[in-house]
């Protein structure tokens, strides 16, 4: 009980405190301390769930099982490391005059608010609250993306707001349809939207309604996940927002949106008893892997490049969950974890690289290695990891996804391999030039926080070589829920 209250309450309280003092010199420390406290409470919650199994909180409005507790822990971890990274990063931005003190206060407060909405979305048992939290997450991130108030960032934020607003409205219609189907069985008290209630009765839910609901839900939450052809907002939002925001958008928000789809998929599978939801996810997933691969080589902005790479990986994860079965589901969960860790690490390195060069244009960032070996290596290793090089964890999960695809859907394998190959060629080439080559970049005024980069990459490396037994148990249990 108290753990969940802490997990959800800490970011909220920190956000309120930072709304008052977020412009002060020590605000970044408060931000980091709040995130650390959230991480500790998430760890406590996790150990409690591991010991006692799934639990309900607050009149069953919140529900924590192995599937979401693992995402809660991941969210809290990446949130904490991002707050560490943002301390020197935002200080440099402030010194460069890109941000006023008022904007800094908005940033700090909204960062914590964003964490809070994501944690609510992950832990709630009520599909309606899930929707409300997702929409609130959109609103907070719109403010974060528009933080610099440049024409490009306003454009990105507007696009993000409109596209995700429309998308998520479709998800609301899907939720209403689920409620419509459930209400006939559960009655119209508050219970008919509780996921656990729905899940226990999922065989009785009306199939036609549920299949229509799922179409709306996958389009709605899929917009937030960045599934092609609803991905247009994503590269802009990643490129124009401050880099810590790109890191949490890519590393966390996309996962949370995907989590919402997975929860709904479980219900729809039960009601339909066919592979309808799976096939839909596979189709969206495959399209989302292939299309961005061909956009990658045309990118000139480093953050847009990695934004497209995030879309591709989300497609891969959606495809994995679409295939279903124990191996693919574990692979999907593992890929969610390693992608979050790697992509946020890359954004940390990219953020500082862009600050050193004073631009985000790839051609103008050269020779990172000579000026700052740690940033250079961080970016290089991160890129290798995200491209699926062994021995990093991304390789393991991609390997598992591909082998499952060979076994059950052999026709998809060449398409996947081809897309991954194209992505490798276009990204590696660009990053190589940035890291090696003659330096055009200048050293930074403040010491960058690179511990998070190497902490994340270390974890990804570990997950590639050895998955701790409790973690693999956890993945297996969660995969069982997904089916």
């Amino acid at each position: 009980m108290i753990e969940l209250a802490l997990v959800l309450g800490t970011p909220l309280v920190t956000a309120i405190i930072l709304a008052l003092v977020g412009h002060r010199r020590y605000a970044a420390e408060i931000n980091a301390a709040g995130s650390l406290l959230t991480l500790i409470s998430a760890a406590l919650l996790t150990s409690r769930i591991i010991a006692k199994g799934p639990m309900w909180f607050y009149e069953m409005q919140f529900f924590v099982d192995p599937l979401n507790v693992f995402l809660i822990a991941l969210t809290a971890l990446v949130g904490f490391t991002t707050s560490l990274f943002s301390r020197p990063y935002m200080r440099i931005e402030h010194d460069h005059g890109r941000l006023s003190s008022g904007r800094l206060r908005l940033y700090h407060s909204m960062f914590q608010m964003f964490m809070c909405t994501m944690l609510v979305a992950l832990s709630t048992n009520n599909l309606g609250i899930l929707w409300v939290a997702m929409e609130a997450a959109t609103l907070t991130t719109v403010l974060l993306v528009a933080l610099y108030r440049t024409p490009a960032s306003l454009e990105a934020a507007w696009k993000y707001f409109i596209l995700c607003g429309v998308g998520i409205a479709q998800a609301l219609f899907g939720t209403i349809l689920i409620y419509f189907a459930a209400e006939r069985i559960l009655g119209h008290e508050g219970n008919a939207l509780l996921w656990t209630h729905l899940n226990s009765l999922r065989m009785q839910l009306e199939p036609t309604t549920l299949s229509l609901a799922f179409v709306f839900l996958i389009v709605g939450y899929g917009t937030k996940t960045g599934l092609v052809p609803l991905h247009n907002w994503l590269p802009d939002a990643h490129a124009e927002g401050p880099t810590p925001v790109s890191a949490v958008l890519s590393g966390l928000l996309l996962n949370v949106a995907l989590y919402a789809i997975i929860r709904c998929k479980v219900l729809v599978d039960g009601a339909l008893g066919t592979r309808f939801a799976e096939n839909l996810m596979m189709a969206f997933g495959l399209l989302t892997v292939v299309v961005p691969a061909f956009y990658l080589s045309r990118q000139k902005d480093i953050k847009r490049l990695f934004g497209f790479s995030s879309i591709e990986h989300m497609g891969l994860i959606t495809f994995a969950f679409g295939m279903g079965g124990p191996v693919a589901s574990v692979a999907g969960l593992l890929h969610m974890t390693v992608h979050s860790l790697t992509k946020s690490a890359i954004f940390f390195a990219v953020g500082h690289a862009a600050q050193m060069a004073g631009t985000q244009v790839i051609d103008d960032i050269q020779g990172l290695l000579k000026r700052s070996p740690t940033i250079g290596w961080g970016l290089m290793l991160g890129t290798l990891a995200i491209l699926g090089m062994p021995p990093f964890g991304v390789f393991t999960s991609e390997f598992m996804i591909l082998t499952t695809a060979i076994k059950h859907h052999p026709w998809a394998t060449p398409i996947l391999l081809c897309a991954l190959g194209v992505a490798f060629a276009s990204m590696f080439h660009k990053v190589q030039g940035m890291v090696f080559g003659e330096p055009t970049v200048k050293p930074l005024a403040h010491n960058p926080a690179l511990v998070p980069v190497f902490l994340h990459l270390g974890l990804v490396l570990m997950l590639g070589l050895w998955i701790p037994p409790y973690l693999s148990d956890w993945f297996r249990q969660a995969a069982k829920f997904i089916g």
Partner: protein, 226 residues
């Protein structure tokens, strides 16, 4: 017409169908309306119809939380949001703006096509509905699609936002008429999100105009085409 008939569910369902029809008509009216000021008035009327239909469902089904829902709709969609929008267009001095480059006949034809699609999609579900208002889910879906179309065809920021809010209205209508309303906590959450979103957008409008000297979205789409 006796009193018994007036409170019967048959009469109520007639009334709700009437509301649904008006809502659809307003959807088309918004699609064809070029003036920003008239759009806001249409949006307000939509809110009023929504509020009325919620009230009718509340009276016939004796669901206490639907009275709250109707009150909330009235406060938010008939008073607060139109007030904010009116203030906004006055301060942005776009009150008498007329949108050009809008082929109304074509848009209307596409709109009719969308309504047919919506009815077809919703038909199997409407047959299942045990509530007093079975046909309305198709109309609600049609209204969602019409707002969607309006968003695509408009290039100015304020009409786009009104289209967005109209979509929210249609969804609310689906929730109340087809299912007797969502749980109260969810409705409150949605209302809060809409309100906060509106406030954020209002701030945005000023910044967009400051940066682009215009509220025309087409001015924004220049850099990132790929």
């Amino acid at each position: 017409m006796t009193l018994a008939y007036l409170t019967s569910s048959a009469f109520a369902s007639q009334l709700i169908n009437l509301c649904a029809a008006i809502l659809l008509l307003l959807g088309f009216a918004m699609l064809a309306q070029r003036r920003v000021l008239s759009l806001i008035n249409l949006f307000m009327m939509q809110g009023l119809v929504l509020c009325t239909s919620t009230l009718i469902v509340a009276i016939t089904t004796h669901q206490p939380h639907l009275y709250w829902s109707a009150g909330l709709t009235f406060l938010l969609k008939v008073l607060a949001l139109p007030y904010i929008l009116h203030r906004l267009i006055r301060r942005l001095s776009v009150k008498w703006d007329i949108e050009t480059l809008l082929n109304i006949p074509t848009t209307m034809l596409i709109g009719i096509f969308l309504v047919i699609i919506a009815f077809n999609v919703a038909q199997p579900i409407s047959l299942l509905s045990g509530t007093i208002t079975r046909a309305t889910i198709g109309i609600a879906l049609a209204c969602v699609l019409l707002s969607f179309l309006m968003m695509i065809t408009r290039s100015k920021a304020v009409p786009q936002v009104i289209a967005f809010l109209a979509m929210e209205n249609a969804l609310f209508f689906a929730a109340t008429s087809a299912t007797y309303g969502m749980p109260m906590v969810v409705e409150l959450g949605i209302a809060l999100d809409v309100l906060v979103g509106m406030v954020i957008l209002a701030v945005f409008f000023f910044q967009i105009r400051e940066q682009f000297d215009s509220l025309d979205i087409r001015h924004m789409e220049k850099v990132h085409e790929e």
